[in-house]
Amino acid sequence: MNQSSRPFYWMALSLIGVVIAAYILFPIFWLVLASFKTTGELASLPLTFWPQAPTIEAYTALFDETSQSSQLLNWPTLISNSFIVAVSSTILVVFFGTLAGYAFSRLHFPGRDLILGGLLISRMFQGAALLLPTYRLMNSLNLQDSLLGLILLYSAFGLPFATWIIASSLREIPFELEESAMMDGASRLQSMVRIVLPLATPALITAAMWHFVGAWSEFAFASILMESSDNKTVTIGLASFVELFTIEFNRVGAAATLVAMPIMVVFFFGQRYFTRGLLAGAVKG
């Protein structure tokens, strides 16, 4: 690339980026705007883009005990269930992913690299193919329709990838630093906690973010496993909500915006970790 063509190249690239982003984001943006409209405005023609009289009534309706929607779906319970499941499984995944990642990056055992590669392959088998076997398994363990069951399941699904990300980044931390710590009087565990983990924080945050977002937005397994309304998560709630309230689209918009909120917060604060941690892993493999 020579100097003169560079500005044009970047402009073209940015333009393509903006177009793609607009294409993807437009429906989402429209949905968010819809959540601030009244039912009447949504039903009237011609369609408006910006809310004529912005209101949060769709949101208050979600949490209004007397309203029809909150009787059918208890949003505070849905939200707290999702939080419990996503946060607990994130803690488990990062904790065990760190221990396993440390082992994969520091200890020598037969088949180490093969197993580490296998961890990534295991991700390819997730999804629909696993629904039925998982349901059977959870049933026989008596863990269906239980938050604990869902926590364990998500942790099992999330652990391989987290381990892989963490192991890749730990490999870039020179072992000499730990040797030095041991000479300075640290035990193996101390050298891991005091030296390695602080240096691996970006990778730990990346792993935590990936897992949290995945667990928060998981739908398929939650929907087949969670039967009682006390145990449902936000994604199930949202799906039933769409069926129940197609007419009152402002409420669908409000619910969807609410569900997306934690993910947006995570991205907002952790964007640089999201790409950096992954790149670090990608380069080293």
Binding site: M182, M183, G185, A186, I195
Partner: protein, 350 residues
């Protein structure tokens, strides 16, 4: 106190043995330098002493008690690594205080000891900086500071100066030597630079291929190298070697020229490898004749290569001789400075 004894140390990686039974005694307060060519096992021996490598056989003790079974953290040994191994997420003060923190020393005492070490190493202004904000020489000092704060029994250094430029290396050499004189702690120091070894050591251990070739004071190694390898390794520029034989009590070269009186311990007619250091060859009115082939003035001294009975031989002198290529001159060996080695085994004969 910190006297170290290594007995018959062996280390194998898989089927390959890289240390073949090393014996070494280090007295309390002694500065011992391990020197030898790359790959001879210096680092492996040092790391075995540190506990970072598990030895395959032998016995290591400090002050008479065995430490072989001890984890590195319990050996009371501090180590300065070649790449310094400073903790990137801690500032200089935290780096230096880390060993004390591990030893559960109180906060105020840590501050006090770190301040004192920083004072010794002229790091007081740097305490709040992070390693990446320091120059190579400053990092080196922080690494040393981290080693000295807790007053260990032994310091280990693995090629600590190899990442520094030549001028800084000379300066740090003096600083480390000064630090040793001040603290009086036992030091085992690895280098492949024989000048570092000669200038710093109380005692030098010359290693080759996992064996100890010779142990001795710097000048002992220089004056009486135990074999041809040590003779060639210690001293700069390196010793000249040439085939010779004893005739009428004289060391005679292949062309019949007489080099010097034969060293004691050789028998009449015996063939051997003669060794002479460049600085011990003198231009004289008589003696073996030689043709000048290369002249290299360095300022302080003059180095030139002559053809001595078919062997290119380096001579170094402080005299300002006016030499031209092709000049013929006569060379003599300073009295008692001719070394004799077995032509086959390289062992010193006299």
């Amino acid at each position: 106190m910190g006297s170290v004894a290594l007995r018959d140390i062996r280390k194998s990686y898989g089927a390959v043995e890289v240390l073949h039974g090393i014996d070494l005694d280090v007295a309390d307060g002694e500065f011992v330098v391990l020197v030898g060519p790359s790959g001879c096992g210096k680092s492996t021996l040092l790391r075995s002493l540190a506990g970072l490598e598990t030895i395959s056989g032998g016995e290591i003790s400090i002050d008479g008690s065995s430490i072989v079974h001890l984890h590195p953290k319990s050996r009371d040994i501090a180590m300065v690594f070649q790449n310094y191994a400073l903790y990137p997420h801690m500032n200089v003060a935290k780096n230096m205080g880390f060993p004390l923190q591990m030893a559960k020393v109180s906060k105020s005492e840590i501050d006090e000891k770190v301040a004192k070490a920083a004072e010794i190493l002229s790091l007081t202004q740097m305490l709040k900086r992070y390693p990446k904000q320091l120059s190579g020489g400053q990092r080196q000092r922080v690494a040393m500071g981290r080693a000295i704060v807790r007053d260990p029994k032994v310091f280990l250094f693995d090629e600590p100066l190899s990442n520094l430029d030549a001028a800084l290396r000379v300066q740090m050499r003096t600083e480390i030597k000064g630090l040793h004189q001040r603290l009086g702690t036992t030091i085992v120091y690895v280098t492949h630079d024989q000048i570092e070894a000669m200038t710093m050591a109380d005692k030098i251990v010359v290693m080759k291929d996992g064996h100890v070739e010779q142990i001795g004071a710097p000048l002992d190694l220089y004056d009486r190298p135990a074999n041809r390898f040590v003779a060639g390794f210690i001293g700069s520029p390196a010793m000249n070697f040439m085939p010779a034989k004893v005739e009428n009590g004289q060391a005679v070269l292949e062309n019949g020229a007489v080099l010097a009186p034969a060293p004691e311990g050789l028998t009449e007619g015996q063939a051997f490898t003669a060794g002479v250091r460049p600085e011990h060859l003198m231009v004289a009115d008589q003696g073996a004749s030689a043709n000048v082939t290369v002249v290299e003035p360095t300022g302080a001294e003059l180095q030139f290569v002559v053809d001595l009975a078919g062997t290119p031989t380096l001579v170094s002198t402080r005299d300002r001789l006016h030499l031209r290529l092709g000049d013929t001159l006569h060379l003599e060996v300073e009295a008692g400075r001719l070394h004799a080695f077995d032509s086959e085994t390289g062992v010193r004969l006299g």
